[in-house]
Amino acid sequence: MRQPPSERIAKDAIQAWKLVALLWLAVPILITVGLFLLAYFFDFSYWLGVIALILSVIEGLITVFLIPKLRWRRWRYQVFEQEIYIQHGILVVSRTLVPMIRVQHVDTKQGPVLKKYGLSSLTISTAATTHEIPALLEEEASDLRDQISELARVEQDDV
């Protein structure tokens, strides 16, 4: 079996993902609050609110404390001279090979959450697909971007 790629993504990715998961937690919490308000003001059973509360707590525990860690542990990449090798996924593990001569362009991106942790994401596009390495240290990402675009500058045969 092919060895998994060697490089891990930045450790702070876990923190960033946790933050994003916390922000998303607002949705189930709002629903729960809504249900309780309905129960308070109208003739509406409290049970629904209680169930929603329990579900939100479970959801929160899983998405904040479990998933980011597992995701980070699986995420690996490796940039060879002629191709990029990416592995990710928690339950379904996917490994992708992207040849350098197929790479059309490379982008780095940084949203507010990633900026807070000094990270940025790297997107590699071929003519038919796009692949993202989600969280790298800023400098690392821009170095890697330049490196890949240098390596990808080999003679592009048609399409």
């Binding site: 191709e83 339950l91 490994r95 992708t96 090979l97 992207v98 040849p99 071929t126 697909t129």
Partner: protein, 479 residues
């Protein structure tokens, strides 16, 4: 060479027709509403004003549309309210297609479509009507820079003398078989039903009642007979549609491109440069497979979309399975390698295949059984069909590797065999979930480019070691 030229005046007709088409969808409900309500005269006035506007627009846009053929580019200026100028450099042009509709043929005209590599429609240009000679001249001029040695080829590119290059045409008998097995039947049936349900509201109530009254009193035999006749009629329309669409289908192989002409009423020419072909496929639908017939298609990058739902471009409407190899040898020798021994999906993958198709019917059976309903046989039959489909998919799935070519075999409903060259695969993905990892199974999904952005093939639950072999074959990093 540098004078701006206008299109043939008949282009106005096409402008009017195409803007009519855009308006009719919006206007139809209004028209239907206005029928029967209010004085008739208003309707007439409305239609008259509308037609004058349309015709005026047609004339103006014809007047404003000019094109200039220059040394290394073609420049097009158009637009009534918003004026657009576009230059397309000759070296960027991928293909030039000439299409003749019925109206074109009456006036001896042709439509010229100029395509560039991107899948962006706006970048391409189309001259809706020029004389046929002008079309040919443009075709020749625009191609010259692209391939300097095309001169000789252009001479034989004319219909008079295609005999030097390998060429295939479809026989009428084949065409009829293709039509009768095309499966367009279902589409036409649904159109027919929609049409009649609409018609119901237009037919006067008395006529409608009389007809339904007449039908109700008829014997069951007559009704069945009527139904069969209607179905046969629809089937016939389907065949006719195929014959019109693919009549006189001819494919010719030139040095660097494939050239297809087809159509009885609307004559279409299509040029497929070989370097744009991303993959070749052989497809056998459920109806055609037992009869031993197949179709051959290609996936091409950029350019024409026949109609939005289908990205595949037909290379031949109907072939016997045994003829495919000979056909490819002659027309597309790059892909002549048709393997016969496929590496199959291992037995332990069968449960996944069955579960995927049978899951929903199984749930239905359980629900019905729990409720204790009488018609449990309906979900049971569906379950049986689903299981056999799952088994058929399991049996079909497989792959074959050669030095340059990956051949995949898979089935959704139709059995498809796809030939892809290693350098046409844009990226390769291997997927495994937890159970797969325990059982040493893996899914493999190569992506290729086509005129819709990309196509991602998928063969599920192959042996992990086989998938690793595909990855090694694909990998550019040989170590």
């Amino acid at each position: 060479m540098s004078n701006p030229k206008r299109l043939h005046p008949a282009a106005m007709i096409f402008t009017v027709i195409s803007s009519l088409r855009q308006f009719i969808v919006a206007a139809l409900p209004l028209i239907i509403l206005s029928i029967g309500e209010g004085p008739f005269i208003y309707g007439v006035i409305g239609v008259a004003v509308f037609s004058i506007l349309l015709i005026g627009y047609g004339i103006l846009s014809w007047f404003r549309f000019t094109y200039v053929l220059e040394e290394d580019q073609i420049r097009i200026e158009q637009g009534v309210l918003i004026r657009k100028k576009r230059s397309i450099s000759k070296s960027r042009i991928q293909s030039i297609d000439l299409t003749q509709g019925v109206i074109h043929r009456i006036f001896g005209l042709t439509k010229v479509q100029i395509e560039t590599a991107g899948s962006d429609r706006d970048v391409d240009a189309s001259l809706s009507a020029v004389t046929f000679d002008e079309g040919k001249y443009l075709h020749e001029q625009l191609k010259q820079v692209n391939e300097p040695n095309i001169k000789q080829q252009q001479n034989v590119n004319q219909p008079e003398d295609p005999s030097i290059f390998p060429s295939r045409s479809i026989s009428v008998k084949r065409l009829i078989i293709a039509g009768s097995t095309s499966g367009s039947f279902g589409v036409i049936l649904s159109l027919f039903v929609v049409f009649f349900s609409e018609l119901e509201s237009v037919i006067p109530a008395t006529v409608y009642q009389e007809v339904t009254g007449w039908i109700v009193v008829q014997a069951i035999e007559i009704l069945v007979g009527l139904a069969i006749m209607v179905l046969l009629f629809l089937w016939g329309i389907g065949i006719l549609g195929t014959v019109i669409k693919y009549g006189q289908f001819t494919i010719t192989r030139y040095e660097k491109e494939l050239y297809i002409t087809r159509g009885l009423l609307e004559k279409r020419q299509m040029t497929i440069p070989l370097k744009r072909i991303q993959a070749v496929g052989v497809k056998q639908s459920l109806v055609r497979q037992p009869l031993g017939y197949t179709t051959v298609f290609v996936e091409i990058a950029g350019g024409v979309q026949d109609n939005n739902k289908n990205t595949e471009t037909l290379l031949f409407p109907l072939l016997r399975k045994s003829e495919v190899v000979a056909f490819l040898q002659e027309i597309l020798p790059e892909y002549e390698q048709v393997p016969t021994d496929f590496i199959q999906v291992p037995k332990r993958a069968l449960p996944y295949y069955l579960l995927r198709t049978a899951f929903v019917p199984l749930v239905a059976v359980i629900v019905v059984a729990v409720l204790g309903l009488e018609w449990i046989w309906i979900p049971l039959v569906i379950l049986a069909i689903a299981c056999s489909l799952g088994f058929a998919r399991f049996q079909t799935a497989g792959f074959h590797l050669s030095e340059q070519q990956l051949t995949l075999q898979m089935r959704l409903f139709s059995k498809e065999t796809i030939f892809v060259k290693q350098r046409r695969v844009q990226s390769l993905e291997i997927k495994q979930h937890i159970l797969h990892r325990k059982q040493q199974l893996a899914n493999v999904s190569p992506s290729i480019l086509n005129n819709f952005g990309g196509k991602h093939y998928l063969v599920q639950e192959l042996n992990q070691s086989d998938v690793e072999r595909i990855a090694d074959w694909y990998s550019y990093q040989k170590d």
